[in-house]
Symmetry: C2
Amino acid sequence: MKIAFDARLEGAERADWWRALTDALPDDDWIDPAAEGTQSARWREADIAVVANPLPGRLAHCTRLKLIQSLWAGVDRLLADATLPARVPIARMVDPMMNRAMAETAMWAVLSLHRRAFDYAAQQRQTRWRALPQRRADEVAVLVLGLGQMGRTTALQLAALGYRVSGWSARAQAVDGVETHAGWASLPAVLGAADIVVNLLPLTDDTRGLFDRTRLAQMRAGASLVNLARGAHVVEKDLLVALNTNHLAHAVLDVFDSEPLPATHVFWFHPHVTVWPHAAAQTDLRSAAAVVAANVEAVRRGEPPSHLVDRSRGY
Amino acid sequence: MKIAFDARLEGAERADWWRALTDALPDDDWIDPAAEGTQSARWREADIAVVANPLPGRLAHCTRLKLIQSLWAGVDRLLADATLPARVPIARMVDPMMNRAMAETAMWAVLSLHRRAFDYAAQQRQTRWRALPQRRADEVAVLVLGLGQMGRTTALQLAALGYRVSGWSARAQAVDGVETHAGWASLPAVLGAADIVVNLLPLTDDTRGLFDRTRLAQMRAGASLVNLARGAHVVEKDLLVALNTNHLAHAVLDVFDSEPLPATHVFWFHPHVTVWPHAAAQTDLRSAAAVVAANVEAVRRGEPPSHLVDRSRGY
């Protein structure tokens, strides 16, 4: 099959992806728009597009597509392209290695908050020696927002560490051994019961700007926010007020309204903000290439691909 | 029974322990040397001494002791008292909550090193946005030194997170699902195969100064050391050289030769040293008091207490 590869990636990272994908599907006919252009006959005849945030409009030329396969888990930027052919199914990346990486980052953030690692780091900068009170994990209520693949993996791993874990999602989702809640009406009470809130929601019209003044006020005083999903979930100026008034204790942020986070942004310098450079869960080349290959094989056999996006939901 | 309580603790912490212990054993006759002195007839007649690093010589007056119960897991400072009555059994604190706290700190340190949290903290101070390469947990070799209660719990938890975990102890110990090694002859090869070394050994004549120039040189280039046991396990000036020559990448240290760590000590200021104030695993009052009560009941019934120290081994 003809497979178009359109990834807004640069240099070595782009080359690594190209090699991993073509190694995983060596007998297919790969089309690199960087080499062939997007006006070529081959581009227009592509059967499958494997993409990472392609420039809007480029896939509109591909009239024979049977599948658009995203290399990334979040497809909000992809779906923002209004010219995307409406009849072509879109698959998200659901990579077990990426789920594990996300759960690791969430565990790191929760352990850091629970065991006061950010406070000890501040004390080190002040050469201050003082052991802080130690709580048991089962005294710490952790809320995971979003119970997709990443949210489920994260909730299960946190529960295995002994935390009092609950989960929330817009529509009901069961997770073995984890108390789950569903629907917008339940969110204020669920938020108010958590010491640590881990956001793993998809970015949709419903969740954009979710953590505004009102929602942040619904959080328990002294609680902390861990945002590993999208910067646009959080109204940054409202979060800043919540931190500066000591309503919230700390924020661990991997994602921001504007990325890279501008050098003049106060989050870089805030004593109660931990900044990561959108690195909570990088896609693992090898396992992601295998996931792409499995979906290409499904199309080849005429079977439905996995992890299809529901455009009306937005994820 | 008459129970002497001799803890080198101050203020609220001492009062909290007194209350937790006397609540757990309300019908026994508790003796507080701070109130009654150590020259009183009641002190000399104590059946059991519950102690936390008592001043050397004080227990020599207690001639009827059937058990010395330590509130702390490490008994190296207790055993250094040469006047300790030789025939009296000594029990260490083995508190399941403390084991879990230690495993949490070890997981936090390993996740921080594996997922580059210390590097991202340094980048935040430089307002630098750069995602660093992400390894899978099964590509990271973690060695746990010491396979007592804390080492076993830690090794099992790290293995559950997907790390390539091995364990080492002076004498052979099996841990389900973890590759274990024993004996001093095997240590150089075991050390040389690890990316992260977590020290949970007891402090004995054999392990004092273990991480000296020779041992540190046996560690893999670019590896990191996590010392959660005793400061005296590490020759601090040799560790400093290993860090300054970039042989080791990072050290996470909870314990030091001199505690509190002196304000002028270079470890406070070193970019590749993380300092915690001996807070990796604080004894949990409630569960520790229950452990003490169980051992007191054993003595009362004439049964052997649990977790007795072998003075010839030193732990």
